[in-house]
């Protein structure tokens, strides 16, 4: 009787666990497929697409100039001696952006306003006055960023150099 009960407890624990393990592999595969489709539609302009994706990952729900600001920071970095010389190099620099580290950048397709923001920044508009960093002052950030010269705040992001 006792053995039977322990076995049924074991089953209750193990069956959901194995189902979960099995599914997690499928989930990983499905997101990968979604990604390839995104690329097939929009591989016409790498910089534009990448910028829009980063804006969507980092500045979702921000006012429009704040989204342009995030894209402008990427472009400012690509032009600056202290950062890699290409847009892709800046975005994928290890540890540089949280949305790249946690996969948010691939989580969903950029919205129309994300694309517009990327385009405005590529057109040369920079509401951040040459900022190289942005951070959310309402979240925990490395104390180091507060040693940067603050340029402006747009929405929930502080922009600095």
């Amino acid at each position: 009787m006792r053995a039977r009960r322990s076995i049924s407890i074991l089953l209750v624990v193990l069956i959901p666990l194995s189902i979960f393990l099995f599914c997690s592999r499928n989930i990983a595969r499905r997101t990968l497929q979604a990604r390839t489709e995104d690329y097939a539609v929009s591989s016409w302009n790498g910089d534009y697409m990448l910028l829009a994706r980063l804006v969507s990952g980092e500045a979702r729900g921000e006012p429009f100039p704040g989204q342009v600001g995030v894209a402008a920071v990427i472009l400012n970095r690509a032009k600056h001696p202290k950062f890699p010389p290409t847009v892709a190099g800046v975005i994928f620099q290890p540890g540089a952006f949280e949305s790249v580290s946690n996969g948010q950048i691939w989580a969903s397709y950029p919205s129309r306003s994300n694309f517009n923001a990327a385009r405005e920044a590529l057109n040369g508009w920079d509401p951040t006055y040459g900022s190289l960093y942005f951070w959310n002052p309402y979240k925990w950030v490395s104390p180091w960023v507060w040693t940067r010269r603050v340029m402006t705040q747009i929405g929930r992001h502080v922009f600095g150099k």
Binding site: A3, R4, I7, L10, L11, L14, I15, L17, S18, L21, F22, P63, F64, P65, K79, H80, P81, K82, F83, P84, P85, G89, Q93, P94, G95, N116, R119, N123, G124, W125, D126, P127, T128, Y129, G130, S131, S142, W144, R149, V150, M151, T152, Q153, I154
Partner: protein, 449 residues
């Protein structure tokens, strides 16, 4: 009988779970190794590139042939850019490695500017050689420290990632490698001097002071007044104005928000300079309807807007149509000379011709009364200098900024090579070819590359 049945199920499940864990940790392990391999590749490439830089700088100091020097300097440029790329692929986390990046960028950029000098027949000055020797000193130091790290890596004492993903061991050990890099970077910051030369990464480029901002300081209420007057408002909406904050860029400014009466979110955002009350940029975020006006009418609308806001005598030089708006670039003309650095961009909505965007940062940063250099080259001399295959459409004078923010008075030669259009800039003082732009005409507008 029943008992055995349960046992079999139990064993199968346990086996399945063990297999699941095993396959997941195996995949994690190989992914981790792949990551480690790409980090190691970046590191060893960086070592190679720094060694090469060392060697090349020494050679440039020794050689007496100009041809050899040009080759060496451009190779230094190439290797330094490679070092930047390698460095940026290393997982240094939140550590500030920007000084090493800057060191390589300036070394490459500086060498490139020297090779350009030699090509143009100028001498490299003793001061510049001294700077090169300084670069040599720092890159030797860097090379030595990297080789020390390399020894540790080869001995297997350091890995970039410390088994962070292995099952059961989720805590990350301190990354010794990244910390060592941070020390090297800090040292570079303390020792390497700021340098000024003729290139885009020179230290002077970052610290441009705005020259077009004149006048006295204004108050917040004056800024709100200016904003309400400046914005293009054909439907005479009543806006509530408010100050959203201050911008502390190269032009300190009030950020003004204009909200339609009754609306919750601001419709127009604008920065007005604290000094003089100049509008730096504004943007109207309203939704844009289907196109109703043509491109020519929109250019006229933009020009009328500019002259009503005090910017007369501007010439439209390029445009880009996207998503229901057209962005037109205007530059001022002075004595038939186009002043490209002082550009203004105006965005016109194609549904009703309203100005929905204005960007005058270039104008405010660079516009001033300049003393332009004397023209020493005639138009016919320019025609002789141009590549004979280029069919010339038009020649006019223009002031252009180079990558180091130096302004150069040039002849702008608009010409065709078969069906491709180019702009060639010939220096009006010394006849040197300063710049070539390729013009790409798309259905969306004219772009230069």
């Amino acid at each position: 009988m029943k008992r055995a049945y349960f046992w079999i199920i139990g064993i199968l499940l346990a086996g399945g779970i063990i297999f699941g864990f095993w396959s997941i940790s195996k995949r994690a392990y190989s992914a981790e190794n792949a990551l480690e391999a790409s980090y190691q590749r970046g590191f060893f490439e960086l070592i190679d590139q720094v060694n090469n830089l060392n060697l090349l700088i020494s050679k440039s100091l020794v050689t007496s042939s100009d041809a050899q020097r040009i080759m060496t300097f451009t190779t230094i440029w190439h290797q330094a850019e490679g070092a930047r790329t390698s460095l940026s692929q290393l997982p240094l986390g939140q550590r500030d490695m920007t000084n090493s990046q800057k060191f390589f960028a300036q070394l490459g950029d500086f060498s490139y500017s020297l090779s350009k000098k030699i090509v143009n027949g100028e001498e490299v000055t003793t001061d510049e050689w001294k700077k090169m020797e300084n670069f040599k000193k720092y890159s030797q130091d860097l090379s030595r420290k990297l080789r020390e790290l390399q020894n540790d890596v080869a001995a297997g004492r350091i890995k970039w990632e410390n088994r962070a993903y292995a099952a059961g061991k989720m805590s990350k050990l301190p990354q010794a490698m990244a910390d060592k890099f941070a020390v090297i970077d800090q040292k570079l910051k303390e020792e390497a001097p700021t340098i000024t030369y003729d290139g885009p990464f020179s230290d002077h480029v970052e610290n441009v002071k705005p020259m077009g901002v004149t006048g006295s300081a204004i108050t917040e209420s004056k800024a709100k007044e200016i904003a309400a007057d400046f914005v293009d408002n054909p439907d005479k909406y009543r806006y509530d104005t408010g100050i959203a904050g201050r911008a502390r860029g190269n032009i300190p400014a009030y950020s003004v928000e204009l909200t339609r009466k009754g609306a919750s979110a601001p419709e127009v955002m604008m920065d007005v300079s604290e000094k003089g009350g100049n509008v730096i940029w504004y943007l109207n975020t309203r939704a844009i309807g289907p196109q109703k006006i043509d491109l020519k009418a929109s250019v006229d609308r933009a020009r009328a807007f500019l002259s009503s806001r005090g910017f007369a005598g501007m010439e439209a030089t390029g445009s880009l149509t996207q998503d229901g708006t057209i962005t037109i670039t205007f530059v001022p003309i002075l004595n038939d000379i186009l002043l490209y650095p002082d550009f203004i961009k105006v965005e016109v909505a194609l549904d009703n011709g309203q100005i929905v965007g204005f960007d005058g940062a270039g104008y405010l940063t660079f516009h001033r009364t300049r003393s332009l250099p004397h023209i020493k080259i005639s138009k016919s001399e320019v025609v002789n200098k141009i590549n004979k295959n280029l069919k010339i459409n038009r020649i006019r004078l223009a002031l252009i900024p180079d990558s180091a923010m130096k302004e150069k008075l040039c002849y702008e030669v608009d010409g065709n090579l078969k069906d491709e259009r180019y702009l060639v800039y010939i220096n009006a003082e010394n006849g040197l070819e300063e710049q070539i732009l390729k013009i790409v005409e798309t259905e969306k507008g004219t772009m230069t590359m």
